[in-house]
């Protein structure tokens, strides 16, 4: 079981920074808050015992993807704030989100998970969870893993070709 203080502390951290992503007028503040949210989520992963995934979350999300976001935003140097939609549109959007939240939490409440408070330990004396994850990744999910590798290769080539489009900041406007 996870100590309540730990869970509520991390939850407060995550939700405050997630709200900052939503409400910060400056996109760079949004991006940095998102990075903090991801570090908080990684903390919860640690608490849940998935140490490897937690470290990967910090390395990949907070360390690489969000740095990319921040760098792109700094290159853009946006001066103007986000436009705000009309009142009834905003009301519609918020109510849709509220309905979805209600549906999900209703489903969670009605399902029988409420009583489950013990974490099943994955690791036995000889096999650590990380090793178990690796074995699963390279046996049962080998095809998915290889396909993912090809996807990444295709995307790397695609991204390079898209971002080499002529014009823009260096061309005559």
């Amino acid at each position: 079981m996870i100590s309540a203080a730990l869970f509520y502390g991390f939850s407060a951290f995550i939700i405050i920074f997630a709200l900052a992503v939503l409400f910060a007028p400056n996109p760079i503040v949004s991006a940095l808050s998102l990075a903090a949210t991801m570090v908080g989520v990684a903390g919860l992963f640690f608490a849940l015992g998935s140490h490897f995934i937690a470290a990967v979350q910090i390395t990949v999300y907070a360390g690489a993807v969000m740095v990319l976001f921040v760098m792109v935003l700094m290159l853009f140097d946006l001066k103007k704030e986000d436009a705000v939609s009309a009142m009834y549109v905003r009301f519609l959007k918020i109510s849709v989100a509220g309905v979805i939240l209600g549906l999900i939490s209703g489903a969670i409440t009605l399902s029988g998970f409420a009583s489950n408070t013990t974490i099943m330990s994955v690791d036995t004396a000889s096999v650590t969870p990380t090793k178990k994850l690796a074995v699963l990744l390279f046996t049962k999910y080998l095809l998915a893993f290889e396909v993912l590798g090809i996807l990444l290769l295709v995307i790397a080539i695609g991204v390079v070709s898209v971002s080499r489009i002529k014009g823009g900041t260096h061309a005559k406007s």
Binding site: A4, I15, D82, S85, F113, N116, V159, G167
Partner: protein, 108 residues
Amino acid sequence: MPSLESISQIGLNHFLYLSSVLFVIGLLTVLMRKNLIVILMGIELMLNAVNLSFIAFSSYAGDVHGQVIVFFVMTVAAAEAGVGLAIAVAIFKKFKEVEISFFQKLKG
């Protein structure tokens, strides 16, 4: 009214509630913000919420398969962010614009 025990005893459903709140915040970010890059961030937030629920399920069920899925989701999310940012940079270079409603004026 939830009992005191259900507040102090952290179980799977606590993580699921947190995950759903995080998901809805991400959804609202996608819906409410106009900046293309902030919208991409909202998508990342939603993916993180889903990852959290996967890891919670995996831990409480004692099953590593959830972690494998999270691993895949992270990889795809990183790739998706790369493509999204590349398109945003390409369009910004050409039109100096990142507002999402501008994108509907683009033609072949």
